[in-house]
């Protein structure tokens, strides 16, 4: 199908208007052309500056995240290390007979135990000797 034929008068009008417009653009005065060139460079440089600033801007949240992660780790680790100690102490407290030589907590032990340590030492050695003699007999 053929396209409808354009009115030659309108076609002429279009051509002339376009020619004048293109000519006006091409014959722009040097002052305005210079300002347009400067505006273009500015726009392109602004985009480049933004691209360069991009990694720096990415580092900021990454750094903040690292600091936050470190803080959380520092708060969490002592708890993890403290937990076995507490459980160990509670275990030993639950069964004091398991190791009767070492009281679970020095402060909670009877202070009299520490008053005559030499005597207990002599008694232990003497006890060993006497039991040895008893066995030899």
């Amino acid at each position: 199908m053929n396209a409808p034929k354009k009115d030659p008068e309108l076609q002429y009008l279009e051509q002339r208007a376009r020619a004048l417009y293109l000519k006006a653009g091409a014959q722009l005065d040097a002052h305005t052309a210079g300002r347009l060139r400067a505006a273009r460079r500015e726009a392109l440089q602004a985009a480049q500056a933004k691209e360069h600033a991009h990694p720096v801007r990415m580092l900021l949240p990454a750094g903040a995240f690292a600091v936050l992660a470190l803080a959380v780790t520092m708060l969490w680790l002592p708890q993890q290390h403290g937990a076995p100690i507490t459980s160990a102490s509670s275990t030993s407290a639950a069964s004091p007979e398991a190791d009767s030589y070492l009281p679970p907590d020095a402060e909670s032990a009877d202070p009299k135990l520490y008053q005559n340590l030499d005597f207990y030492g002599w008694l232990a050695s003497n006890d060993g000797q006497s039991s040895g003699t008893t066995t030899s007999q």
Partner: protein
């Protein structure tokens, strides 16, 4: 058929060829803006009738295109750029309207004869846009006639006829349907034919 003198001193198809050259797919965004900026200024100037505002509009359109659409395919830059420029021009026209209303409220904006005068616009001391133009009078006549068109008809005429965008690209830049573009353009052409009788 009415015989018409050619508007060109050389080849009558010169305008179309120049437009083809101007609209060849650019290698870079810099090249695209370099080949578009002067025509963009002329278009903004014709809409706004003010050099400084026209320069502001073009500068802003360039910034926005580079900032938001530099990664788009080169073929899409033209409708995007002209669309941005069109919206910027409309913004400036609205701002100017508000400013004139405020000036009116304050009692200013009229000279001794009661004619409207620019209130806060700086004096335009640069060389006139038509100073170096050989066809200055014809261009001035066209600018006056185009300025008289309703906004949408003016946009359709400038983008489709002067800038040479196709109907789809014009519709994209204007933010309307292709049918609307054709309607606006048809009305614009008939208005212009009536106003530019001396061109016949």
């Amino acid at each position: 058929m009415t015989s018409m003198a050619s508007p060109f001193s050389t080849n009558p198809l010169q305008a179309d060829l120049s437009l083809e050259e101007a609209r060849a797919t650019p290698a870079s965004l810099d090249a695209f803006l370099a080949q578009t900026e002067r025509r963009a200024f002329r278009m903004a100037e014709m809409h706004l009738g003010h050099r400084e505002d026209a320069l502001d509009a073009v500068q802003d359109a360039m910034l926005r295109l580079v900032k938001h659409y530099r990664d788009k395919p080169a073929a899409e830059w033209a409708p995007l750029f002209w669309g941005i420029l069109r919206r910027r021009i409309v913004d400036l026209q609205r701002r100017r309207k508000v400013r004139s209303i405020v000036v009116g409220w304050l009692g200013g904006g009229r000279d001794d004869d009661g004619d409207e005068m620019p209130a806060w616009d700086p004096a335009d001391t640069g060389p006139g846009p038509l100073d170096r133009l050989q066809d200055a009078q014809s261009y001035a006549d066209m600018a006056v006639a185009v300025k008289k068109l309703p906004q949408r008809q003016r946009e359709a005429f400038m983008l489709r006829v002067l800038e040479g965008l196709d109907v789809a690209e014009t519709a994209q830049a204007m933010g309307c349907s292709e049918g609307s573009v054709k309607t606006h353009l048809s009305r614009a052409m008939h208005h212009l034919r009536d106003h530019l009788e001396e061109w016949r």
